[in-house]
Symmetry: C2
Subunit: 339 residues, 2 copies
Amino acid sequence: MISIDAMGGDHGVDTTVPASLDCLRNNPALQLILVGDEQVLQPLLETAMLEFKGRLSIQHASEQVEMHESPAKALRLKKDSSMRVAINLVKDGKADACVSAGNTGALMATAKFVLKMIPGIDRPAIMSSMPSIFGHTHVLDLGANVDSSAEILLQFAIMGTEVVKALEDIAEPKVGLLNIGEEDSKGNEQVKAAAKLLETSDLNYIGYVEGNSLNAGDKKVDLIVCDGFVGNIALKSIEGAAKMITSVMKDAFGKNIFTKCAAIISYPILKAIKNRIDPRLHNGASFLGVKGLVIKSHGGADAIAFKTAIHVAEVEVDKKVIQKISEHVELTLSQRENA
Amino acid sequence: MISIDAMGGDHGVDTTVPASLDCLRNNPALQLILVGDEQVLQPLLETAMLEFKGRLSIQHASEQVEMHESPAKALRLKKDSSMRVAINLVKDGKADACVSAGNTGALMATAKFVLKMIPGIDRPAIMSSMPSIFGHTHVLDLGANVDSSAEILLQFAIMGTEVVKALEDIAEPKVGLLNIGEEDSKGNEQVKAAAKLLETSDLNYIGYVEGNSLNAGDKKVDLIVCDGFVGNIALKSIEGAAKMITSVMKDAFGKNIFTKCAAIISYPILKAIKNRIDPRLHNGASFLGVKGLVIKSHGGADAIAFKTAIHVAEVEVDKKVIQKISEHVELTLSQRENA
């Protein structure tokens, strides 16, 4: 059972509803609770509730968190928001995971407040995947924390490892630490100290990787760990680079009648390129560290992108990611006590 | 007069010599000293020295710094390297600037040791420009320092402002501080403290900018200031994204006979795109903070890219960038004393 914050995101029910129905169609075992204004959802889902009898239900929530609302305010004043109610369902054991395209700060604050942290994890982290030459690379933290200590970076690596195991079916994901060079002497104090912790951990730590490894690493790495300040700036920098290149391509192909003809001829190729680097196919960030699965979709996600986020939730539920993280952290802590 | 480390870079004289000669051809006022092994340079430059009578000379240096040599070792043991001699010429007032494609760490260490720091500047910084939707954006620091304090970020902003004024002919370059959000509450301690210093400075500070502003900012910014750890990771992330997109494009256009035909038809367009985002046209990073102009070319630069680096040196000499930085820092310090 997965709860969906049906009102969240830039497009609300226009994307969450069709995406949810499509997912129910694709996976006959899937069960969804759509959380939001009953009066809005009821008419939209009437037929579907007959089609997916017993697998689709509505949970009423009278409020909704605005995209630019302050997280503290949303947490304090909107106790019946679709986001909050969707997370409550996870806390109460009525849902195994929650998916929201709503306000990132509010979602994180609410998840932390309602679900509480996993024992042994000090800070939450946002983890996502990005397209790379080799398929894709998973990265955390993408902006939940700034000034993360070495110990926190180790916790991120443990959580990320369990997610990559689940999503990619890899036994021992290769973990890299984001740095400004691969030599031991490179980096800030935080990264150097984290490297020491990772070297003695039970993780498959492969060493430092540089920024280009996110999309184009020659040393294949499955998971890249970094502080949220650095991760967020890297992510946004990559988004900016992709946007610039797309804009330059559009200009070049739209310049005159000749280039427009070339664009028509090249259309299937340009489309294939777009699909390959399409961020929508990499939607669905995991909020890690809290006692429950919370998946964040991009706010501007369309139905295709939102479906990807629901799919991430399905897999993480199926592979019992939260339980695996808790066990792994516990093991690490007990090994340290015995050392 | 500009001194060229003729032996530096992955391709040494094969790029530095043709690039130098081309620059002399383009600018009749330019004077160059090529520094390196006389026995190698003499035969290569014999005809050119007649052509550019009085504007081209050779300065012998018996050693050269290898690309992967430790900076400390290069500094201690290679006192007659082409890099060191080229920088010595700046120190002795025989050259106004030095251009090298050699080992970055060694160049920085040598420049700092030989030229010493500008009074009031605590740390050197690497500054470069990158292509953006609006033309290009200047950024520093790209990796000279990690853990830069707020005070050091302010110094970077002052130095960067003077370089942008010189290279772009802008009276008051817009300065942005790289952060993970535009709201005041966002960021780490270092960035928040730097924002306060910048707000009260005489710089044209516009506030926080995010990673996407490097290539695709909607708020037009001329100069982006950040710590070297963050800047280096952003730069490499962008390089990786560009590499991935290029690789995806190559795959897509090379897939079969049809796509190959489309590639031939689209060739001039693809070439225009490549030119627009070509890093070679953005070559020439400034090493700022030392008492003398030192321009770093990419190690793998070809002659076109190396010419761009020489051109950066020409402009910075012409606009007296070092003098301007010194004056600006002095003014800032005296204003603070009087405040």
